[in-house]
Amino acid sequence: MAVAATTQTGARASRPGRRLSVPAWVGTVPFLAYVAVFLLWPTAIVVVDSLKNPNGAWAFANITKLGDPLVRGYFIGSFKLCLLSSVFGAVFGAILAYAVASGNPDGLIRRLYLAISGVLAQFGGVTLAFAFLVLIGPVGLLFHASWFYSFPWGITLIYTYFQIPLMVLVFLPAIDGVKVQWREASENLGASAWQYWRYVGGPLLAPAFLGGTLLLFANALSAFATIQAWENQIAYIVPQQISTALSSEVGLSNVNVADLLALGMVIMVAIVMTGYALLQRRAARWLR
């Protein structure tokens, strides 16, 4: 960094007319302003509104509504679905990523699977839900799976359909970064495959694996279109309840409740991210 500064001064010296009186961070203002207007301000609106009641008066007691058993049920439902789909997605995604990474780096299979992952990672909604319905629903083409309708198993299966490709996209560079030489070196020293993974490969890949799982968790948490198209008669997860609070026709609509649930979702993610950060620190210790 110091070298670059000298060079900058040096470069500046060669242009006597230029004077950089503006600090460098000003160059990031467009980005910061954009994010402030379209991300931070709406979030602030949501947080502030969640602490008000419908007439606009402050109602800090709203926070206690998050402890309501009904509301807790929605958060538990969301948590279950997100945890299951992110764990399954991460594990299977990691296996698939390993299979892809250990092949011919220029080969067709790698390109195919990367293209498939890129396409399917964002696929969801009406068509995905319906495709699974006709495949394994009550009159399914493949077979009839009665567990398919019990929450969270059926919808978890549908979620893993786009969680696995996302994990492949995120995790593949990490596996690519694990050098073959390390595996060979550990074999030369007499380690078994299990010992390799336990002491070398595992710790190396753990941060990336955890990071991928967290990404999957956040992805599943905000997913809404798929479950809404699959079933909409019971609200299992928080986004569905937010939708009810925003658009209920029978008088149960309440924007402040929607905001409150949204706040709860943000808190939930914050808690998970903290847990992730702690795990990261522990995993990083293995590398020392």
Binding site: F130, Q233, I234, E249, V250
Partner: protein, 375 residues
């Protein structure tokens, strides 16, 4: 990428944005320059007659409607007929929206040219949002029963139907509600939406409640029925649409009778059953947005919907299997489409209608107990 490339792209983006801005229809509300401000008129006669209204509406040229699915009570034909008759273009937003979303749209889009001009909402939402509506009395005001309109015309009921059970004929014939608990209906029975959110869903549960011996004041027997249905494995949480019915995923659906027509559902072997002791009726209501961007077109639309003409709104709704609010008056003066009226499902007995407080109580009960019962 070369910098010239990037410059070209940036230029293209700027050009796109400019073009989008220039070609926008602008936010002009198209208010007529003539003396009458139709936004404050409460009837056709007060505004200077039907011709003046038609002229003003044509000048505005557009009508914004929301949440009107084409296959719902023949709305597709109604929208086309209005445009064909008056040449006014209709922008139909969010065809699958709920009544609350209509009101939300009015609030969030207020002041823009995109805001809905007219609303077709369920009674619960109508009663809760009268501050957003403009009072207006259509020319056929006297033909509408007093109980089915607000006294100044803030909301006026337009059409309705009875809650029914539509089912595929492969199940034979259903004669009572409890038939649905039989094993042949495994995973087959669905509502139209979440009862805590959708009007049709709530009324489906209430109809079950009446059939089980309950009353309009208590929806608990209905929730218990669905609990039994779930325990028997017959309740399907799947979102019932035309596609799922056609695929056979949801062969039994609780829905309004005009939404259980074979033509709406899309399968020919579809039957409809209304339990004789549980005739639950529900009407929707029309309302005009107080700050409608096209006030004259909005009022012309209302006149069209309540017109008793052979190709007017009331008869078109009748052809869609719904019961128009002026049905009695039209039967008396002979303007009703007799063939369409004859096709309505026959019911013997007096229909029940939920009052506002009964509706609220039912919603509160469902909010606390529905998820537990069938989740």
């Amino acid at each position: 990428m070369r910098s010239s490339y990037r410059l070209a792209l940036a230029g293209a983006a700027a050009a796109c944005l400019l073009a989008a801005g220039c070609s926008s229809s602008g936010s002009s509300s198209g208010s007529s320059s003539s003396a009458t401000n139709w936004a404050t008129q409460t009837s056709v006669s007060a505004g200077g007659g039907m011709n003046a209204l038609v002229a003003a509406a044509k000048k505005e040229g557009t009508l914004n409607v929301i949440a009107l699915p084409p296959t719902w009570a023949n709305y597709g034909a109604i929208l086309s007929a209005f445009t064909a008759k008056y040449g006014i273009k209709i922008n139909s937003a969010l065809p699958d929206g709920t009544s609350q979303q209509e009101v939300n749209a009015v609030k969030t889009e207020s002041g823009t040219a995109k805001a809905p001009d007219v609303l077709d909402v369920g009674m619960a939402v109508a009663l809760a949002n009268t501050s957003l509506f403009a009072p207006y009395q259509v020319s056929t005001w006297s033909a509408i029963p007093t109980a089915q309109k607000e006294s100044t015309g803030l909301w006026v009921q337009d059409y309705g139907g009875y809650m029914a059970i539509g089912y595929s004929s492969k199940f034979g014939t259903i004669t009572s509600l409890n038939d649905l608990l039989k094993p042949q209906f495994k995973g087959a029975v669905a509502l139209n939406g979440n009862p805590t959110s959708a009007n049709a869903g709530l009324n489906g549960v209430m109809m079950a409640s009446l059939a089980e011996g309950g009353s309009a004041s208590s929806i608990a027997p209905g929730v218990d029925f669905f609990k039994k249905l779930k325990a028997a494995g017959n309740f399907s949480p799947v979102s019932a649409t035309g596609a799922t019915i056609k695929a056979g995923t949801t062969p039994v659906v609780f829905n309004w009778d005009y939404l259980n027509l074979p033509s709406y559902v899309g399968v020919s072997n579809w039957k409809v059953f209304i339990p004789q002791n549980a005739i639950l009726g529900g009407y929707y209501a029309q309302a005009i947005n107080k700050t409608a961007p096209h006030p004259a077109a909005a009022r012309l639309w209302e006149e069209f919907l309540y017109s008793q003409a052979a190709s007017g709104g009331q008869n078109l709704w009748l052809q869609g299997g719904a019961r128009p609010v002026e049905q009695l008056a039209m039967a008396n003066n002979g303007s009703i489409d007799k063939a369409a009226a004859a096709k309505l499902p026959a019911v013997t007995g007096t229909p029940t209608f939920l009052s506002a407080s009964q509706s609220t109580d039912a919603a509160d009960y469902l909010a606390a107990n529905w998820a537990k019962a069938v989740g």
